[in-house]
Subunit: 310 residues, 2 copies
């Protein structure tokens, strides 16, 4: 019987790989560069070679592997990647190609969804069956896991909660072309833009007035040290994200929310604000939904990818 | 091999039953009264007797049944009904009790969720695997089906989209105790309340000024015949419901939305408005999501209940 499974987190510049026991124990992880030249035609061959080498070194027979899962930074449907700009891929049947190369069961998923599955398996969502993982970075992404399976959506857009229409008075445009998307206030980019708007319209003092290229981290730091305008921007970001989670609960009522991504490094400070507004806005019976920080960090992708084949 | 399945839609005053071929063909449906006296202790016995009689009459052996599904007007978790005021039930293990009486596999679900499954199986969502059914009546309810299975939620609150926090400026209270819930504008009750507010604050003419006990149907009729204020109220109800569906798509991106319940009898008039605003508010890639009227009417419950056991 197979004892191991292997997870791959394919990124635009590096590819992370992890070999796991089926119990969820990470045996070894390693990284190889992603060669996206020639429309990314070398990527799957490089991965295959790296896996075979590693198995040789560890003295593990390929037959001991239950399969290989791979997370891709783009939309995936039925194992096929329609377009992935970072990798130069168009309509690649990754499932069939990798199966052909490795002669093993292959599962393919979108990276945000795969990370959610990883947190469910061995991260802060361990023990749950229905989980929503929010990734706060340049945008607001999410991965939805229902009944321990990833939800991809009819058009591959499930979990695109950054574009939830939530700000009904917003006049500026989101990168998606719509107005009033969640990530216009609650992403790193949104927080910076909202802060800039505030700084432009006021003569009030702020420690941020003298910073040239403002980052979300600067704003969090300023808020934490008591800057009033920065505090308002962070409070607002937490308010809208908490409201969005309350909306998601009215649809899915998940076991747990897991918050990851760069902004989650602001720690309990931000997660506490999100939780506060969530509890104000959600149906009474759901006030105790757990909202936790992600635990696996950058490894969530390899964990989730490996979990897909079990 | 079993050839049939049976679905029960248990209501506060009547219980509908339907015998189906496993292919989905309805063989016979019938109705018995629901006896909710003595804390509803006779209900499951009455159902058992009625099923056994019907099978006798039709000359069908119980062994030919794959199982019996039942939809309940209240929250259900793991086959157990925690509280159902209409039936007088508290903590009834319906799955175990009915299995004991009928000696057949039993599945139990909440009625709104079960109706969604019915529409997926043999209604306007036929052929889909992921579906959201919206029920527009006194409130705004929904049933969520993912991967052909009902999503109930951790606290049994999945699909409670009537309480999605969507009106951020609302000052009046929803029956749930919160402010700004979807059903405050888009349910029959919400439409009547919004109309009354408008009529109180204006000296403008409206055909509705002289109606004593205003109903949602009166308002729809007035809107259809060109009454300006009624049209505004209906437009507003459609705007917020369309926006809510766009939010749901950012989470689940379902194959199809099915709209049922009393208000859906307003026909394409209202569904067209909801669709219009949905397409304005949703992520570009999802503009073509199907939004359809429900087809099974009051039979959705027996269809979905029967489908649960397949």
């Amino acid at each position: 019987m197979s004892e191991y499974c292997l997870g791959i987190d394919l990124g635009g510049t590096t590819t992370k790989l992890g070999l796991f026991r089926k119990s969820g124990k990470l045996i070894e992880k390693w990284v190889i560069p992603t060669d996206s030249t020639d429309n990314g035609m070398h990527i799957l061959l490089d991965i295959t070679e790296s896996i075979n080498n590693k198995l040789d070194i560890l003295g593990i027979n390929q037959k001991e592997l239950a399969g290989v899962g791979i997370g891709i930074p783009g939309p995936v449907k039925g194992g096929i990647v329609t377009t992935c700009v970072n990798l130069g891929w168009v309509n690649r049947d990754v499932k069939a190609e990798l199966n052909n190369l490795l002669k093993l069961p292959i599962e393919v998923g979108n990276d945000a969804n795969v990370a959610a599955l990883g947190e469910m398996w061995q991260g802060s969502g361990k023990g749950s069956h229905n989980l929503v993982m929010i990734t706060l970075g340049t945008g607001v992404g999410s991965g939805i896991v229902i009944d321990e399976k990833i939800v991809s959506g009819f058009f591959g857009a499930a979990g695109e909660i950054g574009h939830m229409p939530i700000l009904h008075e917003e006049t500026t445009y989101c990168a998606c072309g719509k107005q009033g998307c969640l990530e216009q206030v609650s992403s790193a980019t949104g927080i910076v833009n909202e802060m800039k708007k505030k700084l432009e319209c006021t003569s009030n003092l702020s420690v941020l007035k003298n910073i040239d290229s403002l980052t979300a981290k600067d704003i969090f730091d300023a808020a934490r040290s008591g800057d009033i305008m920065a505090s308002q921007v962070i409070e607002n970001a937490g308010y809208w994200l908490g409201t969005a989670l309350a909306s998601i609960t009215s649809v899915l009522d998940p076991d747990v929310y897991v918050i990851g991504g760069g902004l989650s490094n602001a720690g309990d400070f931000f997660v506490d604000k999100v939780s506060k507004y969530y509890r104000q806005k959600v149906l009474h019976v759901c006030k105790k939904t757990m909202i936790k920080k992600a635990e696996l960090g950058n490894d969530a992708g390899i964990y989730g990818a490996a979990r897909m084949v079990l």
